[in-house]
């Protein structure tokens, strides 16, 4: 890894990485990737997010769905842990609450595969600065 030596370098790098992220978020025809973020701060892990993440990875595999499963920090919904955010290409991200292993399977088979929303969606109730 060469060190970033200037603001220009950083900007260039950001554009490349952004493209990578947007590709993952919007998905184009080349890479129709579903993105799942699992909220994994201490609280999420304590309520079983690690196991849920494993289940999601395995389920996506078994349904032969191309997806990226990543961990992320606290989404702020302590009362509804474990929480996951699912982004299906071409759609807005959806956050699901109380995702245990059973619900994780349901979300993969119903929402990701068939586009059918399931109970327990958490509406985003905050604005984020860019």
């Amino acid at each position: 890894m060469t060190k970033v030596k200037s603001l220009e370098d950083l900007k260039k790098m950001r554009e490349e990485l952004k493209a990578k992220l947007t590709l993952r978020q919007n998905g184009d025809n080349v890479e129709e990737l579903v993105q799942v973020k699992v909220s994994m701060a201490t609280c999420g892990i304590a309520s079983g997010a690690k196991e849920v993440m494993d289940v999601i990875i395995a389920e996506l595999d078994s349904h032969a769905i191309d997806g990226v499963v990543t961990q992320t920090g606290c989404m702020g919904y302590c009362y509804a842990e474990p929480t996951i955010e699912v982004t299906v290409p071409g759609k807005d991200p959806v956050v699901f609450s109380y995702v245990d292993e059973r619900r994780a399977r349901e979300i993969v088979s119903k929402y990701i595969k068939a586009g059918e929303l399931v109970d327990g969606i958490l509406p985003v109730n905050y604005e984020k600065v860019d």
Binding site: L10, L17, K18, T72, M75, G76, Y77, A114
Partner: protein, 597 residues
């Protein structure tokens, strides 16, 4: 291929459910069946929309139409008009109170501005263990801008103009702190990040470090550049293993990319960060005690002045800021001080992260603009008090803070307002209490904590708080006198005036604020030997209601003290002498025949 054309989302938050949310779901499903639309429309219940005052909420996707105050009787019309004919039902749309126009898309509603995520902007959005994701959302941009294009004073002025104040709770203007450290000349200076989050029930800094460590690292480097320091130290509690792991990883990645280390961005500026672990002493969140702890000495505070800005770590000028304070820095550099100071109130700018806990439906980590009212936080974001109980108080500021009550619900939350009503901002713990909480016990709980955590260096805190705790204990046992109440108040004032550091000076706050706001509870404990909330064990009795007891013997069987007598199918009685007041019978009784007096 999507199976359904429409999804109807019905809020299943506690507030909306109480307002017949479940009936709405049923009626919608019935109407859908009647119209044979089962294969096109699906009804889904969701979590709280955070707009409880306008509940119940129904949202229709994909067109994102947002209906408010929907009644079960509106279901048929929604299906008929919106789904079949494609016309919005105007009378159920949200009306903007300012513009008097109908708004159908939730994105344009004012209540979404209830929460603005600035310090938490990347938490729950990026992978904290991957620096590339951080860079992709603009990480290290501010650092590059500062080092490449700004002078030290320019940086300090932006922070000063933004009006950012210390988020650790004290509220000291951050830019001013930086300037003081900048003006003290020395061959070596230090930037310290205070991650020794000690308030009970507070987890703001932990979440920031676990969700977005790079922003904190970047901010520390910016601070280093501004004050002329080449070394940063993060003082973090050893009880935060995941935060430590992610912070370490982030520091390694930042070094690899050249954002930390020598000659950053090809300039002559060098900056490095090390971690120092705290062992969980509450007093070590106080900056002078924190510095001593890092030097390997006992974690005891010293008198200020000298402030760390002139003589801190190893006797060198040191700038100590809290995690959340740092988390605001890069955004301010990127978006400017004007943008930041447009959020918040006159003297408290920006947002504050709170850990909303206690007896509230939506326990969570929230970030709200300064100047929001308690009512909005508890009833709209928090979804109201649990189990429909009556709201009693909110404790802010942890062991140094106080209680706010019903009459403060509409007070805008900012540093000065909270101090004016006898509490304080603190680091951001916010604990909601209901009618079942005894305020004397609450004060006692915080004093227990303070007695436990007092470092013992100064007599007022070491001895005074112990005495306060004894007095409260006496009152909770129904043995208090009027003289005790007088002494409580008097001693509290003496401790406030004479203790050495912030911990001691603020430790009587829970006592004083509960005495101010709930004097009647103290009087009740002392004069009537009663605890209406039913918390003080010595003052309550368990009793059986004659009409409700069916004589099932369940309570007698579960009683560990064998204090309940009675034959099968006959009224049971509790012997108050033997009863140890454990409450097992109350939990066991299926008929609601046992009550606390």
């Amino acid at each position: 291929m999507d199976k359904f054309k429409y999804h109807i989302l019905v809020c299943g938050g506690t507030g909306c459910r109480a307002a017949e949310g479940e009936m709405i779901v049923e009626n919608l499903k019935k109407s859908i069946e009647v119209k044979n639309l089962e294969n096109d429309v699906k009804v889904v219940t969701t979590g709280c929309f955070g707009f409880c005052e306008k509940g119940p909420i129904v949202k229709i996707v994909p067109d994102n139409t947002f209906y408010v105050q929907v009644k079960p009787s509106d279901a048929a019309e929604l299906i008929e008009e919106h789904i079949i004919k494609g016309r919005k039902v105007d009378r159920l749309l949200y009306k903007d109170p300012k513009k008097a126009e109908l708004i159908s898309d939730s994105k344009h509603m004012g209540f979404y501005q209830k929460q603005i995520r600035i310090a938490l902007k990347n938490c729950g959005f990026i992978d904290p263990e991957n620096i590339q994701e951080s860079i992709a959302v603009g990480g290290y941009d501010a650092l590059a801008k500062v080092i490449g294009t700004m002078t030290q004073m320019e940086v300090i002025n932006i922070i000063k103009d933004s009006g950012l104040r210390g988020r650790g709770g004290g509220g000291f203007p951050t830019g001013l702190k930086w300037e003081l450290t900048y003006k003290n000349n020395s061959d070596q200076k230090y930037v310290v990040c205070n991650a020794d989050e000690g308030d009970p029930g507070a987890f703001m800094d932990r979440s920031i470090l676990e969700g977005d460590p790079h922003t904190v690292i970047e901010a520390m480097a910016i601070c280093g550049y501004a004050i002329g320091a080449t070394k940063g130290l993060v003082y973090i509690r050893a009880e935060y293993p995941l935060a430590i792991k992610r912070l370490k990883l982030a520091i390694d990645q930042a070094k690899e990319y050249g954002f930390l280390g020598n000659d950053i961005f090809g300039t002559e500026f060098s900056f490095d960060i090390e971690l120092r672990y705290g062992a969980g002493a509450f007093v070590c969140g106080e900056e002078t005690a924190l510095i001593h702890s890092m030097e390997g000495l006992r974690g005891e505070p010293t008198l200020k002045p000298p402030f760390p800005a002139e003589s801190g770590y190893m006797g060198k000028p040191t700038n100590v800021n809290n995690v959340e304070t740092f988390a605001n820095i890069p955004v301010i550099i990127n978006k400017g001080s004007k943008w930041f100071s447009s959020i918040g109130t006159e003297k408290s700018k920006g947002t504050k992260v709170f850990a909303l806990a206690g007896k509230v439906n939506n326990v969570g980590l929230i970030e709200v603009p300064m100047g929001i009212t308690l009512r909005e936080v508890i009833y709209e974001i928090g979804g109201g008090v649990k189990n429909g109980k009556k709201f009693k108080a909110v404790q802010t500021g942890g062991p140094s803070g106080g209680c706010l009550t019903e009459k403060h619900l509409d007070t805008p939350i900012d540093y000065d307002n909270l101090i004016a009503v006898g509490s304080m901002m603190g680091s951001g713990g916010m604990i909601v209490m209901d009618e079942d909480d005894c305020m004397v016990s609450v004060a006692k709980f915080y004093l227990e904590f303070t007695v436990e955590e007092s470092c013992g260096k100064c007599a007022p805190c070491r001895i005074g708080n112990k005495r306060l705790h004894e007095l409260l204990d006496k009152i909770c046992h129904g043995k208090g006198t009027d003289e005790d109440l007088y002494n409580l108040k008097n001693l509290s004032q003496v401790i406030k005036d004479t203790a050495l550091c912030g911990l001691g000076q603020t430790s009587p706050n829970p006592v004083l604020s509960t005495m101010d706001n709930f004097w009647n509870e103290y009087v009740e404990h002392v004069h009537e030997h009663k605890c209406t909330a039913g918390q003080c064990r010595a003052l309550i009795t368990y009793n059986i209601i004659e009409d409700k007891c069916v004589g099932c013997t369940a309570c007698a069987r579960v009683c560990p003290a064998d204090a309940i007598f009675g034959e099968v199918k006959k009224l049971h009685t509790i012997d108050q002498e033997t009863c140890i007041k454990c409450g097992a019978c109350l939990e066991k009784c299926k008929f609601g025949a046992i009550y606390i007096k």
